[in-house]
Symmetry: C4
């Protein structure tokens, strides 16, 4: 018997933990699906509320629905805290903070009377909670490989973006001098903004050069942007190719599939336990 | 002798099937070319009819031409049904439905008197029929490899696009708060639309940030878009490279060329028979 | 001694051929440099002539300069014909036609009195002549590899572009129905134009959706464009990677460098002779 | 003892050299950090000064701050000259010239009374100094690999960009003829500018085709741009993949990490000395 220095929790807390944090049992899966629906519904609500025609007409219905969602999230938040042995581990984890921010906006409007609108941005952060639910599904295999490729090419892309920034500042200053305020290049920061719009091939056209010299410089910037867009793409591609190869998938086995155990230790919040493991590999607590 | 539980069809139906569904015989090829011309002609007709200057002037000619095409497609549709043993297999197949939708619009105008215009979209679906004709040519070798690369990288691209959507919703909400209705960011859905326009580097410029803070946020969104456009490209590239290698083309032989047998079983609609096969590999019906 | 059935040409024709068609001798190089300068000068002239402020003010000077260039090109064209044994081989080659089109515009203005402007496009074709000069330099090593990668991935890109076209036509029809003429979607061809502008992430913004439904469809088109831009890139990248590997460059040797012999057979216009070859590998004519 | 033909410099010059040119000692690191802050502060100053609302209100403060920065840079510039044995090597090096240009603008305003504004571009060049500071950190490992990939694919990209230019000139002339001055295609150079805006998928929309023929040509240009954007990306990707492989990183060792010795010879300005080297590998001067 493992010498766990933590007392086993009561059966209902153990059950609750399984439902809320894991997706192995039918009730755990059901909870995830309901939560997913509520989150998406709450985000759609934020979007629709901002549409002037709808927001003013159905303002009461929107606030009512927001209250229901807030109460749902409040209950869920407390259940999460109750069902875990070391609540602080959860509260100060990334998703713990997201959960708190998802719950709190409506309560804050009592403190900040006019701030209902300003809390929209906070409410749209609820969408991030979707990632947790995706995390505990098999879907994660793909995302994992993807994020690895991004992570390993991130430093290169950062060096590259820094170079883009330097080009933008120098070319932006030049464009400001060449074009001047009449064409919309009212200051160097605005010129830099235009330069990035152009280098990234977005090209809004709200500001556009009108003098021959300015158009010539713009041409150079665009061709530079065209040439250098290749660099980050090439990097990610190369990283990804290397990554795919180094995995060396066994033939006849789908390399994208990776069994993910959704068990989470109730005591220390540790993840990625082995299949059939009876005790947490970090704190020895029985799963 | 194979024990086929289906009676052999009469000679003319066998012949008809060969002409309509296959491209091995001269008459089969001729049929495909004529069909291709009629399809492209019918789509061009839809395009030209929508041009105000032409649509009103030659409205009678357009309707007359549409009648001819509809009759042609109607006859072809019935021939396809007649010449096959199990018509339901064809009728509810992807191309069976497309063929039906290509034929039916003009008849529907009797039921929906004002709906001639609304059926334009349905009529433009005729273009999809072109793919069937291409399918039975050697051209398909390329498309096949292409679609394999796309299919194998689709889950990764979907995960990626989901991340793009989440970024768009969060950044769109921020832009809505920062810029407000005066700059065109009238609601969060519109802001998200703008965000996707920017992230994908399309940049219409119908909506553009005007406040310094908004332009700063826009810069971040654009640089993010610039950085992450690399990811799907890298994925497809890596998949494709891996795919090309795993095929291991025999030297001196064009790996892009792949013999495609255009035979289609008259009984069960099965495809991809071996060269020289006398009986369908799925139902034992003699080819 | 090779049994060449062609009489050796006189010394001055041999010399002339070397100067005009080859770049091995100092005079041959000088000729190329002069020609390059005249071509670029003539194209710059076309550009400047079209600028309203310059074109009307210096119209006489422009016509005078054009006459000098035309005379220069005329002399060069006849020298090229004289110095080769089988002039028809040159005249109907790609560059022979380009050379002819470069020379002829000004003469045509006598036949087409008002056509001076319409011949601008023909005059700008002179730029294509630059490629011949580049061809006979070592610079070509790069371009050769590049064009090989493009050529081998062209069929795939064509299949892909065809799919893009089909998407554009179907989505263009939908946008025409959803947005209508008020937003600028005046006809299906214009909608298709907009669709391609959007799919290719160019995004002029001259036409932009204004209805929520139209903006939603636009979002889908953009995300599709974003996702599928990866495909041709991935293809070229994969082709190129494969190409680079199959060359297997010897270590310590720059694989990009390839000795290109600029000798051209005076008799049959054949190229790519071996170093030190004394007779043409195609017609046995002494070089 | 090495036979160095250079007299050892006095202790304080040796110390000064270590602080200014190297980053091994705490004081050397501190100096770099301070310099980095001053450079970034001076560039931000240039940006803010150009904002009309700020520039006019705080013009005195801006000039005062600029004086402080100029004096700081002046002192630093002279210390760099003093602490090195062969100052000309530094003065005419790339960074020596950048340092000089960073220092001199304010002094030049005495010579060019109205030139304060025109020197903005020169002042923004100060940003380039940041690269030197980055150069002497470990961050450089990434940038080095990146610049190698860019350098090796540069000739290919140049060939490619030349082709893009030729396409732009020919298509630009055509668009000028087809669209004419009413749609904004006022001259061939402007049409070429538009063509590059379109080919690079920037698409400002300040100029856009309005005639059906012009829109058709634009469609072709865009699809070409879409197809050929793949080429430089594929090239860089392939180069990078090859580069990554040829390095063959030892397993278990981060291949991106490369120890960079920041020692700089005080005598001959040579870099990249081996760890623990006591004498310069170029001039034998003791480090």
């Amino acid at each position: 018997m493992p010498k766990s220095n933590v007392q086993p929790t009561s059966e209902w807390r153990r059950k609750l933990h399984e439902v809320i944090y894991e997706a192995d049992t039918p009730s755990g899966k059901l909870f995830d699906v309901i939560l997913l629906i509520v989150i998406i519904f709450s985000v759609i609500l934020v979007l629709l509320e901002s549409v002037p025609a709808l927001g003013s007409k159905y303002s009461e219905e929107f606030i009512f629905a927001e209250w229901i969602i807030t109460i749902f999230f409040t209950i869920e938040y407390f259940l999460r805290i109750i069902s875990i042995n070391k609540p602080t581990k959860y509260i100060f984890s990334f998703y713990g903070i997201i959960d708190f921010l998802s719950t709190v906006p409506l309560y804050l409007t009592f403190l900040l009377p006019g701030g209902y609108n300003a809390l929209l941005a906070v409410r749209s952060l609820r969408l991030l909670r979707v990632f947790r639910i995706l995390k505990i599904t098999r879907f994660i295999g793909e995302a994992d490989k993807l994020s690895k490729a991004i992570k390993s090419s991130l430093p290169k892309i950062l060096v590259f973006l820094f170079a883009v920034l330097v080009i933008s500042i120098i070319m932006g200053t030049l464009m400001y001098l060449v074009e001047g305020a009449e064409s919309g290049f009212v200051s160097i920061p605005v010129s830099i903004y235009w330069c990035i719009v152009t280098l990234t091939t977005v090209g809004f056209g709200d500001i556009a050069p009108v003098t021959p010299m300015g158009q010539f410089l713009a041409t150079i910037i665009m061709i530079m942007g065209y040439g250098i867009i290749a660099v980050p793409t090439g990097i990610v591609s190369a990283e990804y190719t290397t990554g795919v190869k180094s995995q060396a998938p066994t033939p006849g086995k789908n390399p994208n599939y990776r069994h993910v155990n959704t068990q989470v230790c109730q005591n220390c919040h540790a993840k990625k336990h082995q299949d059939g493991a009876s005790y947490c590999h970090e704190c020895g607590y029985s799963l």
